[in-house]
Symmetry: C2
Subunit: 223 residues, 2 copies
DNA sequence: CAAAATACTTGCATGTAGTGCAAAGTTGCA
DNA sequence: TGCAACTTTGCACTACATGCAAGTATTTTG
């Protein structure tokens, strides 16, 4: 196995890697194009393969389904979120790191593909499967990061704490996205993105304050 | 459409309803039995239909896939959770209600099918799809309950708050279940169930206290 | 540089999933 | 009892998904 050194694995863009990346990209591009043109559920794997200039069989070497191909867009988005999260200092409180990582995503480049995908598949449960899986995959990554960080801290061995924290962070990120989409649709203007940023900040803040405000009392039995 | 009155729809167990319920049950029973016998992914819809004494085509009148049939077990579990939640007084803080509803589920009758399903499908992503969907469906129900409750309270119109709250509650319930299964496996003894109850209480308590304990500081920007 | 090793693509064959349709069988109701 | 409404079933058909083996491109080795 080549250098798995602590720094980012330097790009060895061999021909094969490049070809595979290009094919992969061609597939997702073709899939998105067909989604735009025909709407969700109205095209087949063969259509995608033809549009991407590959064989049907090769499609399945890259993705296990149409949904998976489209969900790779969501995966891409969430993967950069994880990257951002890993860049945060390890001694920063998790919720602050999560806020920072999420806010870094409220940028046109990153959200544009996701926004389009959402608007194209709105109220169509066809994407739901793979999309839920993408978020869950991200949750698992957040869990891994949180686990590492808290390994040394007092009480950091508490599996429940780490699981609940990772899941809640994801849920809040998802909630902010949902609210944003429902309010602004595919609007990517500066004002809209500012609103998204604020929603992301607020949703994580809710976690940090125990969901205090709206209800009357928030007393909760602690054992 | 018949009476959709506020009280629970009184049981009109006509012959047809009974037959359908029986068929449905026969299908899930057969599916679970095959899962026990052959393991996940090693049986077909036709196998289930044969074992349930119906035709392949009829299977699809009830469920859209093998996974869906098995996930109905999870749905059943989570639906009773929602029932419990709806029974709580409307002026009780959401987190307390959630705690109570979850604790009510830590009972052998309710968790037994779920525990078996989990152990049979552990580290097999075959169930993941429908299982994630089941939890998400439950999330939507929690959202609906929370929305109703908070409609009148100050700030209760805040969609973000309600979405984030519902999602986080689900995540914490899931986290508690996961930790419990990873610790005790299919153990349904009184002691094990007590531990589950405590995990559920603690996970919701984490939400109420803003995930305070383990990390050093938990300060989070609030705007 | 040529040849061998490796990795990727493709076509074919096969089994299964899922759905529309119409005929046959049940149940509900007057 | 007889008709209306609903449910089951078989059949046909499209599409999904994977294994396999042969072909093509890329990398490595001598």
């Amino acid at each position: 196995m080549p250098t798995t050194s602590p720094d980012a694995q330097q790009a060895p863009p061999s021909r094969r890697e490049l070809n595979k990346a290009a094919t992969r990209q061609a597939i997702t591009d073709a899939a998105l194009e067909l989604l735009r043109a025909k709407g969700p559920g109205n095209f087949t794997v063969e259509d995608i393969a033809d549009a991407a200039g590959i064989s049907r069989r090769t499609f399945f070497n890259y993705f296990s389904s149409t949904d998976a191909a489209l969900a790779s867009i969501v995966h891409g988005f969430l993967d950069t979120a994880i990257q951002q999260l890993r860049l945060r200092p390890a001694d920063e409180p998790m919720l602050e790191s999560a806020q920072a990582a999420l806010v870094a995503l409220a940028d046109p480049e990153a959200v544009a593909p996701l926004a389009e995908l959402f608007t194209l598949t709105q109220q169509s449960p066809l994407m739901a499967h793979s999309e839920l899986e993408a978020w869950d995959h991200c949750r698992a990554q957040v869990f891994a990061v949180a686990r590492e960080r808290l390994a040394g801290t007092p009480g950091g061995q508490d599996e429940l704490y780490v699981h609940a924290l990772a899941g809640s962070i994801i849920s809040c990120g998802k909630a902010a996205m949902e609210v944003w989409f429902s309010r602004r649709g595919p609007d990517l203007t500066a004002g809209s993105l500012t609103e998204l940023r604020q929603l992301l900040i607020d949703s994580i803040a809710l976690l940090g304050t125990g969901f205090a405000p709206p209800a009357s009392s928030s007393a909760v039995r602690t054992s």
